[in-house]
Structures are given as structure tokens and as C-alpha cells.
């Protein structure tokens, strides 16, 4: 995450111009290419998402997600290939089990689970990617700045 003075999404809770900061883990083979397609197709979507490219959605350790929240992310999105289309055959299927548990766990703990999203976007789905970002951004925006789990806001 970069910190620059001009950062349009920098955190200032008091400011009415608060913008959510959302971290997106996108798999290299599908969702990242989907985001690329959205870009070259000149589709509009909110600029609140910072992308981290990962080889596969299964590369995303739940610890990365909790760590993102701990470090002040307002939302996290993980997106990979559709089930059955994984470049590594079953990486996304293995990840699916992990994410189901993580989401249930955070729900049990009372964390606002609308801050956390998992989705499947293929390389051909530029439009779907843009729509997804709209949806996720709106859900996170509605919740306001994240408090639970966040540590670094108070640094």
C-alpha cells in the first residue's frame, strides 16, 4: 500500500471525502486478466481497489486477509478462476474451502463480513470484473472505515 500525500483514498475519518481502501488479490490467469480486459475495454469502475497479483487464489493465505484488515484495509476481495478452470487444476477448489471457513469464522466473531468478498472472474469477463468492483466498493463504502481488527490506523 502506498502512502502519498495526494492519495485520493487516504484515510481521514473526519473528512467527508472518505474513500474506502480495498485490497484485491487477483489470480494471474483469470481475474487479473479480467481486470486487464476491463481496462482495455475502457470500462469505468471505482478507483478504490489496489490489486495484488497472485499466481492462484490458493496462494492467498487467510493470514494475508487478516493482515490486510490489521493494517487498515477497509475491504478485501479475493478473485480467481471459475471452479473447473484453474490453471493448476484445483487450486481454486482448495482455496474455496479455506475461504468458506474464514468467512464463517469472521462472521462468528462478529466482524462485518461484507468487508470480505470472494468471487470468480475469468479472463473474458472484463464487464463482470467492473461490476464486481462496483458492488464490492458500494458494500464496503456503506460500512464506513473499518475499525475491528485494524491496528495501524492508530499508529
Amino acid at each position: 500500500m502506498t502512502h502519498s500525500v495526494q492519495d485520493p483514498t487516504s484515510k481521514n475519518q473526519k473528512s467527508s471525502a472518505w474513500q474506502p481502501r480495498i485490497l484485491a488479490f487477483l489470480c494471474n490467469w483469470c481475474s487479473y486478466a479480467g481486470a486487464d480486459l476491463a481496462g482495455v475495454s475502457r470500462l469505468q469502475y471505482p478507483p478504490n481497489v489496489r490489486v495484488i497479483r497472485v499466481p492462484c487464489s490458493a496462494r492467498v493465505d487467510p493470514l494475508f486477509i487478516l493482515s490486510a484488515f490489521r493494517r487498515g484495509a477497509d475491504g478485501v476481495l479475493v478473485s480467481g478462476c471459475h471452479p473447473g478452470d484453474c490453471h493448476y487444476l484445483a487450486g481454486n477448489l482448495a482455496a474455496r474451502r479455506r475461504f468458506a471457513l474464514l468467512k464463517a469464522l469472521l462472521d462468528e466473531a462478529g466482524f462485518e463480513i461484507d468487508r470480505l468478498h470472494f468471487s470468480w472472474v475469468s479472463a473474458a469477463e472484463g464487464g463482470r470484473f467492473a461490476e464486481l468492483i462496483h458492488k464490492v466498493t458500494e458494500k464496503v463504502r456503506a460500512l464506513g472505515p473499518a475499525q475491528p481488527l485494524a491496528k495501524e490506523r492508530r499508529l
Binding site: P62, L63, L66, S67, R70, L77, P83, G84, A90, L93, A94, R96, R97, R98, F99, A100, L101, L102, K103, A104, L105, L106, D107, E108, A109, G110, F111, E112, H117, F118, S119, W120, R128, E131, L132, K135, V136, P148, L149, A150, K151
Partner: protein, 314 residues
């Protein structure tokens, strides 16, 4: 000495004398009431120190990866399930351990006793049938055992070991009045408050992690310093991330033995998070932790038709 203790000692002595094992892991009387301590019996003398009652709540499987090559272990139902999981994870060879199953009548939750006394110190505790008589200074308290049993024991479905080499039958597994899983508050904010309050107590001594037979990572994510995922200080966020990660890492592996809750010196109790994981694993993947050696751990595999109810669709 009751029949069960006699059987335990006889069995331990026989295993040691016949050189079937080098070491018998059991319990001996500890320094305080309701506090048996692990016993590492290597000889007939050691075997005679072994004891058993409702204060054997630790999970001895945590010592199974020690230096001794052939080990016998006294195992309650939950301990045997932990051993099943450890075998699945190839922590040790099956032929190197002798599992001596002990039917369990449920273990005392010392915290419940302390809360009833309003005091962490008590001088004496003894069982009188189904009652526990506790003395602290001039005060004596008589408590029905069922009221001070661990929640895990009250809800235990398999108090008798499911997996063993020898099963002792001095006692029949008999748990008084099983309760049901206490429901979490329906309101999200209330659930967060509950979690926040439990996490706030944590002093990050890692007693929970270290007494857990299934928390055996060579380097815990809470200890890693490059990168520092979880800060070592007991700040709210770091405590929360630590407790959540522990629950997640034990999803499908936790056997609900309750050792971590008993171990906590400040009374952090997030068992409900572990229970939620247990339920999710059961409902989503049809898996029961520690039930059978030939069932594949849910997170070591995948299903093509696993539920996708949590996926954000557009």
C-alpha cells in the same frame, strides 16, 4: 485406590516390564487440588505414581513427539481423537505408540470452580460421589460435579476412546446431562463485543498454543518476524488476529479437548469459534475431526461441489 487407577498402574507396569514401551504418559498428583500433572513413567516405580480422576483435563498427546521411541499414552476420548489427527498428519509412526484408552467421565473446569468461589486459590478439593467439595480458607463449597464440568465434556459425543490398543474398563463413560452448544448472539455487534472482550484478556503467553497437541508448527505465524504478521504485544488487533488464526488453523483438526481453555491463566475462552469451525466442517465437507484414520482431512483436499453460498456474485 479405585479400580480404574489399579488398572492403569497394572497396565503401565506390564507395558514397561515387557519392554513394549520405554515410557508411559499419564498423570500424577500435582501441586494443587484439581491439578494433576503429566507423569512420565519409565519404571515400575513411576507406574505406581500414576493416578486418575476428574482433574486429568490436559491432553497428553502434546508430548508424543518427544525423544522416547516407543511410548504408551493414557488417552481419553478427545485425546484419542487428537492422536488420530496426528497420525493422519504423520507426526509419528503408528507402531511406536500404544494407546491405552480410558473411558472418560468428564473433566472439571477449574475456572468454573474459581468463579463460584470468587477466588483463584483453593486449599483443598475432593470428590464425594457426584459432588465436588472445595475449601478455600474458612469457606467450604459443595458443588454438583455436573455444574463445574467443562463445556466440552458436557457436550462430548465420544467420551470413550474410538481408537486404542488397550481399552480399560474400570469406569463406564458417563457424562452427566449433556448440554447443547450455546448459540451465539444473533446481533453482529454483540458477537463482536463478545470476541473483543475475550481477546482483550489475552496476555499472549501462548499457553493455549503450547498445550495444544495439534498446534505444533515449528514456527507459529504469531512468532514470525519476517514479515511480522502478528505483533507480539497484547494490543487488541494483534490479540484478535492471533486468536482468529489459531481457530482457523485448527479448523477440522481441533478435537475439543478443552486443554487450551484450561491452560489460559487469564480465562480467555473462545471455544465457540472452534465449535463454529467444527460445525462448518461437518456441514460443508461432511467431516468429523478425529473420527476415523482413513478419512481425508478437509483442508488437505477439495470437493467439486462444495457449497458456494459465501461467494459474491454479480
Amino acid at each position: 485406590m479405585n479400580e480404574l487407577i489399579r488398572q492403569i498402574r497394572d497396565t503401565a507396569r506390564r507395558l514397561l516390564e515387557e519392554r513394549q514401551v520405554e515410557l508411559v504418559l499419564g498423570f500424577e498428583a500435582g501441586p494443587l487440588p484439581l491439578r494433576n500433572t503429566p507423569c512420565f513413567a519409565r519404571s515400575a516405580d513411576g507406574a505406581d505414581r500414576l493416578t486418575w480422576d476428574r482433574a486429568c483435563g490436559l491432553n497428553l498427546a502434546v508430548f508424543l513427539d518427544g525423544p522416547a521411541r516407543r511410548i504408551a499414552i493414557l488417552a481419553k476420548g478427545c485425546d484419542s481423537r487428537a492422536i488420530v489427527n496426528l497420525l493422519k498428519e504423520r507426526r509419528f509412526a503408528r507402531e511406536n505408540i500404544v494407546i491405552v484408552g480410558v473411558p472418560c467421565e468428564g473433566m472439571i473446569d477449574r475456572r468454573k470452580v474459581e468463579r463460584r468461589l470468587g477466588e483463584t486459590d483453593f486449599d483443598d478439593a475432593r470428590f464425594e460421589g457426584e459432588r465436588l467439595v472445595v475449601r478455600s480458607g474458612a469457606r467450604t463449597l459443595e458443588l454438583p460435579v455436573a455444574e463445574v464440568l467443562r463445556d466440552a465434556c458436557r457436550e462430548c459425543a465420544m467420551p470413550t476412546p474410538v481408537f486404542y490398543d488397550i481399552l480399560l474398563d474400570g469406569a463406564t463413560a458417563r457424562i452427566p446431562a449433556a448440554g447443547s452448544e450455546a448459540a451465539s448472539p444473533a446481533d453482529r455487534a454483540e458477537r463482536w463485543q463478545r470476541f473483543e472482550a475475550e481477546a482483550a484478556k489475552c496476555i499472549r503467553c501462548y499457553a493455549c498454543r503450547n498445550v495444544c497437541p495439534l498446534c505444533y508448527c515449528r514456527e507459529c505465524c504469531a512468532d514470525q518476524s519476517g514479515p511480522r504478521w502478528v505483533g507480539p504485544a497484547p494490543t487488541p488487533a494483534d490479540n484478535q488476529v492471533f486468536l482468529l488464526m489459531r481457530a482457523l488453523h485448527l479448523a477440522g483438526r481441533c478435537v475439543d479437548c478443552g486443554a487450551c481453555i484450561e491452560a489460559c491463566p487469564v480465562g480467555v475462552d473462545v471455544r465457540y469459534l472452534f465449535k463454529r469451525m467444527e460445525r462448518e466442517v461437518r456441514e460443508r465437507f461432511g467431516y468429523e475431526s478425529g473420527r476415523a484414520l482413513d478419512e481425508k482431512p478437509p483442508l488437505a483436499g477439495y470437493g467439486t461441489d462444495d457449497p458456494e453460498d459465501f461467494i459474491t456474485d454479480v
